[in-house]
Assembly symmetry: C2
Homo-oligomer: 179 residues x 2
Amino acid sequence: MSRLCNNDQIMTQLDLHRLDDSLIALRRILRATELYSRDLAQSAGLTPAQLRVLQIAKTKDGSVTPKELATQMGVSQATVTALVDKIVSRGLAVRVRSETDRRQTNVTLTQTGTDAVAQAPDALQQRYVKAFMKLQDWEQAQLLASLERVAAMLNADDIDAAPVLTTGELKGTPESAAE
Amino acid sequence: MSRLCNNDQIMTQLDLHRLDDSLIALRRILRATELYSRDLAQSAGLTPAQLRVLQIAKTKDGSVTPKELATQMGVSQATVTALVDKIVSRGLAVRVRSETDRRQTNVTLTQTGTDAVAQAPDALQQRYVKAFMKLQDWEQAQLLASLERVAAMLNADDIDAAPVLTTGELKGTPESAAE
DNA sequence: GTAGTTGCTTCGATGGTCAAACTAATCAAA
DNA sequence: TTTGATTAGTTTGACCATCGAAGCAACTAC
């Protein structure tokens, strides 16, 4: 509390160390999720990108447009087309022309696809959920506040984060809604 | 299965909501870094994977073995070979046979490569560093504690997290790194 | 030395990704 | 209504990343 830096801030060694540690922690979080996403997809017989398509579709009640997918995944529509092609060819989803706007196509999960995404065991998330639940009430609140602060610091506010990471099952009621 | 829990802790609706929010915040953080890493690499005229090689090499004093790279990046050695091939062909690094163990090869950054990674403008990290520095002392401490807790919750402790994101010689302006 | 191990590369195959060009449907304005 | 602009989606062609398996070279142990 010795220094409230705002503009011309004097960075002490302690400051740098703490900043550094926080970045390393962030890096670990990123790395853990990255590595797990591969195992996760692989154990489901899918690639990470393909699994993500299914996960996003699931959060949209099992039906999305390629446009939405492209936006949420941060890739081009051309890429989405390729991904959907493979998913469709494996019988995990079907393309259905929209009635209201015939330019649009709905990518709709089949029963097989729904099962596939439902059975993907997300060890990472399960571990997180378990650990989160063990925390004291005030600890949970603080953790949430910190995470949201970091998200804000990274300018991630405007990102339309689909609760893709929130693979139901572990929570009972459909709440969230996000935004 | 909505109420699975370790102890006899009863999960209220509030608990679930908070868990969900924390997951969404996490997802946003991941997504922000993912999106920015592409811009970052592209602005440096590199692919994300190639930039990562350079970044890791930098943290190792400009010289790493393919083995180390494979471990740190979580990919196979075959992949590393392909990446290093491209980096070498662009003059960003050179392969140097190790003297002590002639099986090993050191991937050593050239001046060009060192410059390239140094000049990679990391908008994301810069923003984070800036925001972090504006926080009060206790806020920084709390944020760090929370991040490290999350990393631990994801069991990311055992991961040899390369301080790629580190700010080591950072004195006034943040530079490099991120993914 | 011989056998096993380790570090690295090569090869072949699969996937993800994009920009640009293209089709089809909708919308807006004259 | 016709025309022009916009939007959704696909196709094409070209890279890049990634892996497993096979192969090679060097080290290690006995």
